[in-house]
Amino acid sequence: MATATQRLEQALNRKMIFGPGRIVTRVALLNTGSFAQMMTADLPTEKSFFIRIDANRKIFVHVLLALLVGFALPCDKAFPQASDSDQPWANVSGRILLEGKVPEIPLEKIDGHKDRSICLVDGKIPTDDSLVVDETGGLRDVFVILTPLDSETKIPVHPSYHKAANTTLELDNRNCRFVPHAMAVMTGQSILLKNSDAVGHNCKIASFNNEHNVNLPAGGEAEIKLELADRIPANVACDIHPWMDALILAKDHPYVAITSVDGSFQLKNVPMGKWKLQFWHQRFGYLRKLSVPGVKVDRKGRIDLDLADAQAMELGSMKLPVSAIK
């Protein structure tokens, strides 16, 4: 017993751990520091504890009631993991409609800028494109993101995407707007930043995990990559024309759809299994107020997606109240 205790103590003292299924802190902290005090509210002193982070990145504090009897290493839950080749795949589709009176969309703040004439679209000042709704209520630029139940699980990728990952996507600067306004890329996939305007831009991309600031002279272009996956899209901005903005979401899989002008989306060749589908929009954040017939939407704008043998999963029309705008 003594050797086990020593070993545990050693191991725990050696490292702080942050990572799935791992132990986080050291023993014998109970009488020091505020962390310890927080623990002692519920616990007798002199007891030891350790912390692990489970596969969902949730941190658990384990309290060993007997003084270091030993401890259990958390075992990772097993998830159904289909092999790439012989499994069926399904297409998932739906449509997102805005409900309620759409607020008036303001014009971009172009007036007074020295590049005004070049920034007009068909001779007119364009409207802000952070909220684009068609006459039927279809909401453009909602990111529809397939997420595993667990951060450890890798989503199997259909062979049809293997080539797509090596194609270069384009983000143009045209009439002082980014075209397209919203895009999804895979980590490491090339993005060609283009400037079709007769004036210079800079293209500044910033997210929690990625950053670029590219000088784009008139007619110029440059290739970049986003190397790390993000939770929500990166902001794309131009410092020279402050009204310009766009969104790019980098994920380590190709299953991100963006709603088109009528609010519809389709995710093709999604692997069978239990997943979540998450909805995010620039002006709403996670679409927690989305109503999907017969399905519960959680606080992170996610629904359960259980693909058993369906070849196609049609989620139908989903309604989102205008009042949920942030």
Partner: protein, 403 residues
Amino acid sequence: MKRCSSFCILAIAVLACAACGPAEPIEFRYNAVEQLKQERLFMDEGEHFPDSSREEVTSILKILFGTPDRPQRSDEAAAILDLTRLNMAAGPVESEIDGTPHGLYREHCAHCHGISGDGAGATAALLNPYPRDFRLGKFKFKSTPLRTPPTDRDLTRILHNGIPGSAMPSFRLLPDEEIAALVDYVKYLSIRGQLERTLLAEISSLDGESLFEIEQSETAPEIDSMSADEVPDAIGPEFLEDIVARWQNADERVTAVPAAPAGFQIGHADHGNLTSQGRELFFTKGNCTQCHGETAAGDGSTVNFDDWTNDWLKTPGIDPYDRESWKPFMALGALRPRPVQPRNLNLGVFRGGDAAEDIYRRIANGIEGSPMPASAALSSNEIWALVAYVKSLVHANDKFSKP
């Protein structure tokens, strides 16, 4: 001049207060601005993190980094932080019998950069640009590209030279080991701040639940069944390790500066040509006039805020020009948003150093945290031509100002 004297009075007032105030233990300031931002980004109006979050984050950071008086260095950071140095820089200002100083950071830096390195020390609000907030891990004047931390050499240089044209002074007179201690302490505050932000983001991803969940495992089995080697293997810090790894690899990511073309030498037969090529590029492919203006006076066009401000200012529902909308952030310690100006290049003041190599790297890599972009499409000779032109603006100015 006026600004300087009000700054001095304030500094004296700060020192005086420190001397007379009650001896409360000095704590790192919690990043409440980041918490509010995360709440606005990921929760509904009126919803907040659980009350326990603040204590949880503070506790984890305390375990890993200690306090302003007693720094800790976790093993993950051992490769890049030296505990002896941290002890020299941390704590109240005093020295040991053998003369070893303590409290260098509080003595030389905290009134501007803040005890926590949040860039919001007592004098910060008066300065333009604001002192650096180290917690984002972003630095402007370095030899590495965007999203790569500065090398120790870069930070040492900043401390030696200061940042001309800003309030950041030179600490040239400090002995080398004190500079080294301060460099480590800047990295320590920066890594601590980055981990704090990461933990807060993690809390928001946990759906408003607590970071800790107490599970009482009464029958915890079998440590004996694990071999001694297995245990450390199972233990691998993720967030902190990621952050530390980026700092650790900075040296390998230094942007190489190729030799300048012969014509770069003033007096060389090709010098005039190179400079006029640079001028041409400044107006065309270099895109420089868009921000710096045709006379390079820094009046090209309106520009945005810097990254330290944008970090919270770009939260949904905030309008940079509507004071009311950002008041809640200021109440928690954010500094008033101030737009950044492109540099007036005629003045000959280069904040990141006026050596040709420095200006080369500014143009090649851009200036992290600011609108100044990295040149993606310019060849190294084109960049050298731009450096020659930028330098010629200063010489032209010299001539101009001499009688």
